[in-house]
């Protein structure tokens, strides 16, 4: 065998090896705690869209502030430093850190429960084994194998989720899809209590190193939620807290209409900081909802149109726990309304604004 032949062979083998070697599977690790916060649904104290005072409190409404538990991202496993959120992301409000992943990746969530009752992290769409499902029920697997089904106060648990093809875009989807993660220890009460966040899964070959889709310039997230604070795990303690209940309202849940708040990212009556975008950008809106009985929403963008599921529209439909993607190329500068079109929700403050810069 001549040297030349050998080198050609080696070259060919090298090419074949390089081409069959799987692309680097990335492990994406997030440090996420459930933290107790006093959340103000209308921090300006005003209806910023109508430029008038907030509507008067309902008879059994505690106020606009409630203690909640929300997911927040930390820099490392010591959970001492919050990962700062960019000013341009302030509109995310009480929704948890955005988890990005690409088909083929593994997502690791190191979860610390800083709340006063057991909580979990349950992912939609991603592949989890029973030990990382974060949802207790009788499935034939002993509870001792599933500590993630209820992380006690102060404790940490690591969830591992795979991202197979079936967690990525389907044939009718764009380059990325939306899932969500939320606590599922006592699902209905947990979701009303607050811990919830978005997951974006991008198709293989379509992602930047940070997992965002290459063909998208700006990702915007919006969660339409009817928070039944009377179903929150904190309701009794909120009622007992004179700072949160200065009128000493005697209220007991669940399903108290007066303590239901209509929110986008945890803000009512236009109090959401405005997300901004630029003319001509490819903006992808990821829109989701929580699971209350009135969580049927029809988000409507003023000023621009979107394409969702291949259809041009300016309004999409959400039902409980919906995850919908809508793509927008802004062509109309200005400050525009983004709101739910269901009468009672709009009247209840489920409205926000977004800004298109030239």
């Amino acid at each position: 065998m001549s040297l030349r032949f050998a080198s050609i062979l080696l070259f060919v083998v090298g090419i074949v090896f390089a081409s069959v070697q799987p692309s680097q599977a990335t492990v994406r690790t997030y440090y996420i705690a459930a933290d107790e916060v006093v959340w103000n649904f209308a921090p300006s104290g005003r209806d910023l869209i109508a430029q008038k005072p907030l509507p008067p409190l309902l008879p059994l409404q505690l106020g606009w502030q409630y203690r909640k538990a929300i997911y927040r991202e930390y820099t490392d496993a010591t959970f001492t430093h919050l990962k700062p959120r960019a000013a341009s992301d302030a509109y995310l409000g009480l929704i948890g850190p955005v988890i990005h992943a690409v088909v083929g990746d593994t997502v690791v969530v190191v979860f610390k429960n800083n709340a006063r009752f057991p909580l979990t992290v349950h992912a939609h769409g991603l592949f989890y084994t029973k030990s990382s499902e974060g949802a207790p029920y009788l499935d034939g697997i002993p509870a001792s194998y599933k500590p993630g089904d209820g992380v006690p106060p102060g404790k940490t648990f690591t969830y591992t989720w795979q991202v197979p093809t079936r967690a990525g875009p389907g044939p009718g989807d764009g380059s990325s899809v939306l899932w969500m993660y939320h606590s599922h220890a006592d699902e209905v009460r947990d979701v009303n209590t607050g811990p919830i966040g978005p997951i974006v899964v991008t198709a293989k070959g379509m992602a930047r190193p940070d997992g965002t889709p290459k063909d998208v310039d700006r990702e915007v997230f919006a969660m339409f939620a009817e928070y039944d604070e009377s179903s929150s795990r904190y309701f009794a303690s909120n009622v007992a807290d004179p700072r949160l209940n200065p009128r000493h309202v005697k209220a007991a849940g669940p399903f108290l209409f007066d303590d239901m708040l209509w929110t986008i990212n945890g803000f009512s009556y236009g109090n959401m900081p405005m997300p901004t975008m630029r003319l001509g950008q490819h903006v992808r809106w990821y829109v989701m909802s929580t699971m209350s009985d009135f969580d049927f929403h029809t988000p409507h963008w003023h000023g621009q149109t979107v394409v969702s599921n291949g259809m041009r529209t300016d309004l999409i439909q959400l039902s409980p726990m919906s995850m919908v993607v809508a793509d927008m190329t802004p062509d109309n500068p200005g400050t525009w309304l983004f709101h739910c079109h269901v009468n009672v929700h709009l009247a209840g403050g489920m409205e926000a604004r977004y800004q298109v810069l030239p």
């Binding site: 499902e133 207790p136 697997i141 079936r166 967690a167 389907g170 044939p171 009985d293 409980p320």
Partner: protein, 341 residues
């Protein structure tokens, strides 16, 4: 030369066999509407969390009511029920699964064995006139020709779903429990039994708020001390609200037998709903994802009476199938399914 001719002939025959248009078939079903005493929670507990059933609401009759269901028989004598395989026990109150390929005619020999005038009619098919009611005890044969307009559209997979039900008095008849699936497969994509060739396992789930107050058997149920041991009159202010039962395939609180599907199978879920004002469901699967209308998801909006979702299970274990609407989930609209290797 002889062998070449034989091969050519064989190839010709094979080609002929492939090209031959699908034979239009008559698919005959013997279906009766039967009165049944039905228990929504036969396990008398909630096997999803191991708890007891919730205490009866103040004016709830119980978990057992007289209902009427569509059931399949072996022949026109209506003496022997068609056997239901153990793997299909989870279907509960759902009427027999009727398959047809576009071009077929479904023939339903229908016997009304209840005390009420009823019928059986597919919703949504183009060519079916509304039938007149079949009197109690009477038998009538219905023919449903399945035309091209009844089959899958361009965006659909190989099969589409319709519901058949009794529409003499639709709301009341749905409250009886008279509803079943009609699956129409695209021409040329069906097996001999009418099921789509590109699907390994068909699953049916009926999400229904059963409104026992609207049930035409209400007076019978009230008069029966075995069903109404607390002797309610039905005029109590809370009665209607307390006698909504939140069910999947007629089972509440996880009492549906757990169906088993296999990893890697092409599973098609046919999702049905009744249409009372309390219906409108968001079924969500844990453990796997589905494709519906080309979109990847783990839930569907069942605000129309029927939807399809395709799943290729890749995650073994026992998983949840529930309605994610708070008030439905908290009232027992939950079931499990199992994925095995």
């Amino acid at each position: 030369m002889k062998s070449v001719a034989a091969i050519a002939f064989a190839a010709f025959a094979l080609a002929l066999g492939i090209c031959e248009p699908a034979v239009a078939r008559e698919r005959v079903h013997y279906i009766a509407a039967d009165e049944v005493i039905w228990n929504y929670a036969p396990l008398r507990m909630n096997p999803i969390d191991g708890s007891k059933l919730p205490p009866l609401l103040p004016t709830q009759l119980g978990w057992t009511y007289r209902k009427a269901f569509y059931r399949e028989y072996t022949d026109a004598s209506f003496t022997r029920l068609a056997s239901i395989s153990p793997s299909d026990r989870y279907l509960g109150i759902v009427g027999p699964v009727i398959h047809a390929e576009v071009g077929d005619t479904v023939v339903v020999v229908f016997r009304n064995r209840t005390r009420l005038p009823l019928d059986i009619a597919p919703g949504g098919l183009r060519s079916i006139p509304k039938p007149s009611a079949v009197s109690p005890g009477a038998t009538r044969t219905f023919r449903w020709p399945i035309g091209d307009a009844d089959g899958p559209g361009g965006q659909d997979g190989s099969s589409v779903l319709f519901v058949y039900e009794s529409d003499v008095n639709q709301t009341a008849d749905e409250s009886l429990g008279l509803i079943g699936p009609l699956i129409v497969t695209r021409r040329g994509q069906a097996r001999a039994d009418g099921s789509p060739i590109d699907v390994d396992r068909e699953m049916v789930a009926l999400f229904s708020v059963q409104d026992e107050f609207q049930d035409p058997f209400l007076s019978l149920n009230l008069a029966n001390p075995a069903i109404n041991p607390r002797h309610f009159t039905g005029h109590e202010k809370t009665f209607e609200n307390d006698n909504y039962i939140h069910t999947i395939n007629g089972f509440a609180w996880g009492n549906m037998p757990t169906p088993t599907i296999r990893m890697g199978e092409r599973v098609r879920w046919y999702m049905l709903s009744t249409s009372t004002p309390a219906d409108g469901h968001i079924p969500v699967w844990s453990g796997q994802t589905v494709l519906s209308q080309g979109n990847r998801s783990d839930s569907i909006q069942l605000v129309t009476p029927h939807m399809i979702a395709d799943m290729v299970p890749d995650n073994p274990g026992v998983w949840l199938l529930v309605c994610t609407l708070n008030i439905h989930l908290m009232n027992g609209m939950e079931a499990r399914y199992k994925v095995v290797k």
